[in-house]
Amino acid sequence: MKILVAVKRVIDYNVKIRVKADHSDVDLTNVKMAMNPFCEIAVEEAVRLKEKGVATEVVAVTVGPKAAQEQLRTALALGADRAIHIETDERVESLAVAKLLAKVVEDEQPGMVILGKQAIDTDNNQTGQMLAALTGLPQGTFASEVAADGDKVNVTREIDGGLQTIALTLPAIVTTDLRLNEPRYAKLPDIMKAKKKPLDVKSPADYGVEVASRVSLVKVESPAERKGGVKVASVDELIDKLKNEAKVL
């Protein structure tokens, strides 16, 4: 079966963000960007399914600016066979991304779509579920295990308080949680080879999808800073402070 993997270009996991002085947004000028960590897990899972012989082809797709091709090349270096770049400079919301991906699903007819459960910039956690709803396919979100078996897949999900396993008919949409796998690093020869793999560039208009946002960003602020307190010298002092000063014991 063919697997479609969606990836997103986001701020690097380790970068501390700054809010713009005019509070219009977060300042991403000259900030290191990378593939969203949950998307790395999605790519890894797709590649592993191919290595196991479950998948025959892995197609990576992204929606974003020209520079997002870097993340597609990373996906290709990690083992994806080809890539689709839906290029736009707009701030594309989850719903519009899901609509675009639904069109790609229609074109490509994958047996499974794997996405990260959330992107670490907007922290929305919506796209996979929206894609499932729009395509009429079942969803296995927050997956920590994916076991495909014939025309079904069992997905073990990280839920509040534990784990839940569900069985889905294929094709299905899967979103990844942290413990699904540990992504590999791309090797230099694979990075070189990735440059020659096919990468199609499309626009939202090619799919007839309107990407203008429905939600306006009124302002962005830094959260209230928490002031550091005091260092205590001993366990006795700590307990005394918690009892008599903070009054939480």
């Binding site: 701020i11 501390k16 809010v19 977060v26 949950f38 989850s94 719903l95 899901a98 959330q118 670490i120 910039d121 922290d123 929305n124 956690n125 919506q126 579920q129 929206m130 709803a133 079942p138 969803q139 927050f142 920590s144 069992n154 990280e158 839920i159 509040d160 308080g161 534990g162 784990l163 839940q164 396993t165 569900i166 069985a167 008919t169 299905a172 949680d177 942290l178 413990r179 429905r214 939600v215 306006s216 960003l217 009124v218 302002k219 962005v220 602020e221 830094s222 959260p223 928490r226 550091g228 307190g229 005091v230 260092k231 205590v232 366990v235 700590l238 918690l242 903070a246 939480v248 014991l249």
Partner: protein
């Protein structure tokens, strides 16, 4: 305005999160209905009817809604959403799983993890792991919202809403429940606990997390962990506190052997009092801790437990 709240269930009972979502709904204003969907959920419906501010509890009690699988739950919400201006759920794994389906099928955006209500169409929500707070305004006719429960104090339970059955039954041939493995624990649930004690990479291994047990028992605390501890395989992921785990805001948060990566701080920095125990006096966790104790956790924890 007329608002529908999807109730959170935990093992068939009404989960504490719902009282926080109703509080967020009161901040918006308008009539509040609560939808309780599942199998054998009469008790949960009666509990929901007691939540202050709720006018009506709608009960969809049918095997197809058992375990609140996303496909039938989404379809049910689509059937019921007409006539409401807002549909809210908690940002639990159920709310996150189900609500985006409603939004997509109604062709509206969703606002996730709302922490404050400015007005009926303008809300605050954290982005970038809580390192920025965005104020967003939705122009959609139907607002679909998940609520971060730590942003709203729970409503009381002196209400007496009417309870009525919903007879909508949807089909589901795409997904089925196989099994659930819930952590058996007598401790309070991480999201709602008044005291949380969490261990990080500094705990060294999973076995050492037992050092937290006695303290948790004495304080009635839930036990959490940093992502580093989860990634290292010390403890299961459902204990994770942080951007990609649980968001907690207890009265007292004790961070043990946790350096304080921004992703962890995102999950606990709204706690009332933070205590950090770490051997590295430069650890960033001390910048947010009200009380810091520098030292070897393997000496400090037993002493702390014995003196509580």
């Amino acid at each position: 305005m007329s608002i529908l709240v999807l109730a959170d269930l935990h093992e068939g009972q009404l989960a504490g999160a719902t009282a926080h979502v109703v509080a967020a709904t009161q901040a918006i204003g308008g009539d509040i209905d609560v939808l309780v969907a599942g199998e054998g959920v009469q008790a949960a419906a009666e509990a929901a009817a007691k939540l202050d501010g709720v006018s009506k509890v709608r009960v969809a009690d049918n095997p197809v809604y058992a375990h609140q699988l996303a496909e039938p739950m989404g379809a049910l919400l689509v059937e019921l959403a007409d006539g409401y201006t807002h549909v809210l759920a908690s940002a639990s794994t159920t709310g996150k799983n189900v609500l985006p389906r409603l939004a997509a099928l109604k062709d509206v955006s969703q606002l996730s993890d709302v922490i404050a209500v400015d007005s009926a169409d303008t809300f605050k929500r954290p982005i970038y792991a809580g390192n920025a707070i965005s104020t967003v305004k939705s122009d959609d006719a139907l607002k679909v919202i998940t609520v971060r429960t730590t942003g709203f104090d729970a409503v009381g339970t002196s209400g007496s809403a009417t309870v009525e059955a919903v007879d909508v039954v949807v089909e589901n041939s795409q997904s089925s429940f196989v099994k659930e493995e819930l952590a058996a624990s007598d401790r309070p649930e991480l999201g709602g606990a008044k005291v949380v004690i969490s261990g990080g990479r500094g705990m060294g291994n999973g076995e050492n997390f037992k050092l937290l047990d006695g303290i948790a028992d004495k304080l009635g605390a839930a036990i959490g962990a940093s992502r580093a501890a989860v990634d290292a395989g010390f403890v299961p992921n459902d204990m994770q506190v942080g951007q990609t785990g649980k968001i907690v805001a207890p009265d007292l948060y004790i961070a043990v052997g946790i350096s304080g990566a921004i992703q962890h701080l995102a999950g606990m920095k709204d706690s009332k009092v933070i205590v950090a125990i770490n051997k590295d006096d430069e650890a960033p966790i001390f910048q947010v801790a009200d009380y810091g104790l520098v030292g070897d956790l393997f000496e400090i924890l037993p002493e702390f437990e014995s003196k509580l």
